[in-house]
């Protein structure tokens, strides 16, 4: 059950997308998101979708995995859709009943919003699916490094993120174990009223937190034993360097954005 969570999961591979520099992927993702928000009509949406589809196709990540990532979002999607349907004013009234008015504009807008969120999240998943957490934080650190001049602790932030990502699967596994152990003692997590269910979480959360603190302590000791003292003067095993394929990806991103902006200018 818990193993179905795909957050931050990485599918190793050697495709063009996998081999891109993490910074490239992050920047192109930002460009793509900007394009997605500039897009207003179905034509420009189609262009974005084509771009996304192309990326997914190149990445060799199965559509199934992408959709599995979208599953937890169903609630948010439905919520956004419903809000937009009911709260959008418009000319063409489809249904009018009591205080509820549904307009064609509302429905159209709801569809646009849902598609936009889905495309946005799918692209983000594509990033985490094709980039290992370590190279992702490396890329982020390198992109944010100008902020070091403002005494912003970029390295520490990246290290924290890296450790957090690293421990998600560990903690999921631990939760699974603790749940099994408490179930063996007759704990019941699936039935009962809301309050009972909340109370049933205590036997899981207490050992989980204690375990997390224990691990944090051990990790801190282990890092200190290896003389870790922050980012200053620290070198990297894998230096990030832009290659030809990165420029190619940038080009693709820029062309996408330019196309969308042009379409917008012409009213599409």
């Amino acid at each position: 059950m818990l193993k179905d969570i795909t957050l931050g999961q990485y599918f190793p591979g050697t495709s063009f997308i996998h081999r891109l520099d993490p910074r490239t992927k992050l920047l192109v993702l930002i460009v793509y998101i900007v394009a997605l928000f500039v897009a207003k009509t179905w034509v420009s949406y189609l262009v974005c979708l084509a771009f996304l589809a192309l990326c997914i196709a190149i990445s060799t990540i199965s559509l199934k995995s992408i959709f599995r990532g979208l599953k937890p979002l169903v609630f948010i999607l439905v919520f956004t859709g419903v809000l937009n349907i009911f709260l959008t004013d418009g000319e063409t009234v489809l249904v009018k009943w009591w205080i509820i008015t549904i307009t064609l504009e509302g429905v159209v807008r709801a569809v646009y919003m849902i598609v936009r969120i889905m495309m946005l999240v799918s692209a983000t998943f594509l990033l985490t699916y094709t980039t290992s957490p370590i190279s992702l934080t490396d890329g982020l650190e390198s992109l944010l490094s100008p902020l070091k001049k403002l005494h912003f602790p970029v390295h520490e932030l990246a290290m924290m993120m890296c450790i957090a990502l690293r421990f998600i699967p560990t903690l999921i596994e631990e939760t699974d174990k603790i749940m099994s152990a408490q179930r063996s003692r007759g704990a019941d997590f699936e039935s009962g009223k809301l309050m009972e269910r909340v109370r049933a979480l205590i036997p899981i959360l207490v050992p989980l937190f204690i375990g997390a603190f224990r691990r944090a302590d051990e990790l801190a000791t282990a890092m200190e034993c290896r003389c870790y003292h922050g980012g200053e003067g620290r070198t990297k095993m894998k230096l990030l360097r832009y290659k030809r394929r990165d420029y190619l990806a940038f080009l693709a991103g820029i062309i996408l954005l330019a196309t969308i902006i042009t379409l917008r200018c012409f009213g599409w």
Binding site: K177, I178, S180, A181, Q182, G186, A187, P203
Partner: protein
């Protein structure tokens, strides 16, 4: 007498239908008698942990059956839950699941879930604490203030307090010092004797398994490789070594002695070894 637990053609496949598909159990069948002590050995990843989690319904088999007193534990939701109380499962490093404010409350967690009345819970907590030799003075202290060995015993008491007819322990002595190990093993034996409970113990210590078990199951690559008496299993020294397992050190010593021409039968426990050596010395005393 009919066996208390029967496992029939158990198969388990993790993440079926995904790229991470992994066969953890294949065609595993065995049975367990009341009061029997079963040792379960196998290399890491051989399917031991998966197997024991099937015995109290934590994992649902992909196919096959687990019968408790002849009835499937998956017959109904209630049957599955009831099986948890009859088959007590102590996980590896169980001290990491303690959560209550006091030792007493933690041990009482299982009996409370059984919906027993207060007096019965009280009786069981005290008895369980006694089985694992916890002094009554620690019952009101926080489990997090105890030493590692004591925490382990509290966790085991938490399962024993449910008075399971089958007690399953996954490496109950891992990470303890020799004295702690010895004590835990004694506690288990005592529980078995006084309650006529069946025990399944997973262990990597071949000498512990040889000394405690009536019968040994050997898991290898998701299969049940051997199911037999201590003698029958440890006779297969070569095959065991190929599975990444071993024979008790004392057995190895005696095999070497035999190779050197000493007339001794293979032994599996320290006591047998002492006995064998004494007879040998008695026999050759006059020479």
């Amino acid at each position: 007498m009919a066996p208390i637990l029967e496992v029939k053609k158990l198969n388990h496949i993790y993440s079926q239908g995904t790229p991470f598909e992994h066969v953890a159990l294949q065609d595993v069948s065995f049975s367990l008698e009341r009061g029997e002590f079963l040792g379960l050995i196998g290399h890491t990843g051989s399917g031991k942990s998966t197997l024991i989690q099937h015995l109290n319904g934590l994992l649902k088999p992909t196919s096959g059956e687990v019968l408790l007193d002849g009835k499937s534990i998956w017959e109904s939701k209630a049957a599955t839950r009831a099986s948890r109380f009859r088959v007590g499962l102590v996980f590896q490093y169980p001290e990491y699941q303690l959560f209550e404010e006091t030792v007493y409350k933690d041990i009482a967690f299982g009996p409370k879930n059984m919906k027993l009345d207060k007096e019965e819970i009280h009786r069981r907590v005290l008895e369980a604490a006694d089985f694992v030799a916890l002094p009554e003075s620690v019952l009101e202290s926080s489990p997090f203030d105890l030493s590692g060995g004591q925490k382990r015993r509290v966790a085991i008491a938490g399962v024993i307090a449910m008075e399971p007819e089958i007690l399953i322990l996954d490496e109950p002595t891992a990470g303890l010092d020799p004295q702690g190990r010895e004590e835990i093993l004694e506690n288990i034996s005592r529980y078995r004797q006084e309650k006529n409970a069946a025990i399944i113990m997973v262990s990597h210590s071949m000498s512990d398994v040889a000394r405690m078990s009536d019968r040994i199951l050997v898991m290898n690559k998701a299969h049940l490789a051997y199911d037999g008496s201590v003698k029958e299993v440890f006779r297969q020294a070569w095959q065991l070594q190929e599975m990444g397992l071993d024979i008790p050190p004392v057995t190895r010593v005696f095999m070497k002695l035999r190779e050197k021409g000493l007339d001794v039968e293979p032994v599996y426990t320290m006591e047998q070894a002492i006995h064998a050596l004494k007879t040998l010395r008695g026999g050759n005393g006059h020479a």
